[in-house]
Amino acid sequence: MDQFLQHVVNALILGGTYALLGIGLTLIFGIMRVVNFTHGELYAFGAYMMYMLVMVLGLNFFVSLGLAIVLGILLGAAIQFILLRKLRDADIDTTMLVMIGAWITLQNTEQLIWSGVAKSIDNPFPDSPLVIGAVSASWTRIFVLIVALALIAGSYALINRTKLGKAMRATFQDRETAALMGVNINAIHMATFALGSGLAAAAGALLGPVFVVYPTMGDLASLKAFAIVILGGLGNIAGATIGGFILAFMEELGAGYISSGYRDAMGFLLIIVILLFKPTGLFARKERIG
């Protein structure tokens, strides 16, 4: 029972960052119809920026976290500006191939700059974990969960409460009508991709100090984000949030009770099961893919 509680706590902490990844990816798919294969690279980029700022430049941990997210937003904006802006009306396969090309380019650039050796990042939290009863959690992980939840809440507020969010929702529902109503579609696409990228970079910057940073870390992150998005239904933000936590629970319990070697296979098994029984995702209100 104690062991089970420990798994639940670990899953909650992991689930927060998974939800961040999933929300970013599902926003980009829903609004822009882009299958974003660079998502995991933004995650890795966030972690590497954290490494550069904290370990190389020696900046404050919390300042670095903020800067890493801002840099992720800027890189996302650059990708949208250079690669996607001109492909706005291209079909989904074309943009997908471009994003795969960008993924390979980004990942190998990371490998070229920082080499394949894994890097670790120091954190300012006390070494002794927080212990409640039989369950313990390190302070870093608790911090990760709090920041992730804050960012999730912030994204919801942005989408549901602001004018920009209203324009994003309108674009999501019907791009042509939104454009006729005076929504600047280019600006919305830019904001969406930058926001999604910023969330992915935030997830990387948060998990980088918990685990280690290495160039191919983005691959698994991308694939897991896809699993989460399929689970929640493509383009469904609430679905992605819940999906992130479900995947984290499956991984944590699967690794704990079945086999730790297959931990990363859980997401893919999930995809296959979902497609077998409910292809539109658990929380889909309508068919979203053509």
Binding site: M96, A102, L223, F226, Y262, I272, L275, P279
Partner: protein, 336 residues
Amino acid sequence: MWLKDFYVLHVLITTGIFIIAAMSLNLLLGYTGQLSLGHVAFFGIGAYVSSLVSLGFEINVAGIPIGITPKPVWFAMLWAVVVAGLFGWIIGRISFKVRGAYFVIVTVSFAEVVRLVALNWVELTQGPMALNNIPHLQLGDPATGWVVSFLRKPQSYYLMLVFAIVTYIVIARLVDSRAGRAMIALRENEPLATSVGIDVTRYLVLATAVSAGIAGAAGALYAHYIRIVDPDVFLFIYTVTMVIMVITGGKGTLAGPIVGGALFGLFPEVLRSMSVQPEVQWIVYGILMILVVYFLPEGIVPAVSRWWRSYFASSPPDIGVAAPAGEGMETRRGRS
């Protein structure tokens, strides 16, 4: 003679094996318009199945020992094709309920699961220790003294060539058949194809199974040529290489994967001779892929053939022959 240079031969054989895999991917990507981003899974399954059947294995599943004794290599290769094709059929059945992005993600995930199985099921696959001493292909009967062995490189080269030609013919015949026309109709306009009574999902699943089977054959060929197989055959970067070969050469053309495959099979060797780091090579691949999608969306073969046709059509005044072909080109381009 260049066939005497073993290094050149080795490059040609591995390039040829990749071209076979790329041709199988083209059947899916080019003719049905579905991108399999885990194609290396079928290649790797073919390599592992063929190796395991030819080496023999013994495992315990829930206490019950299951095992086979070593079988001849040609028989093992046959199994590789069947098992890979079967997996292709299953993947097709699962993912073609909903297509497009879902198929891409399912195939990526499938490749990752297979890689993890190869890495973790040590009892069967030896995990990271790899399967060693895989026998090479040998045809004929030692008792009669008539034996063809494919251990050495020149023989392996011809074996690869035969496989490639057979693959080419199989795909050419399939594409030209009723099933192939159905696939192309689907790619061009799915609602219209459905409305004239084409069973969309059936043909997509068929294409996936055949494509996976051919990729499995390429994997088996690879296993018995290199004679060592480890979980790295499932690396994503191999799928990317195949995709780039098909896209650059020209998806949906029979010659496309061959042109693209030759280009990207030999390109790394050129870069290596200029002592470029592998990362830089992949960066160049990535950028090339983006540039091709932007500036040559149909790939090299259609672009060259269109240029060729317009070059020769412009000299004689008779337009009647060139016009229908040009028109067909336009409709296809108009859609993409």
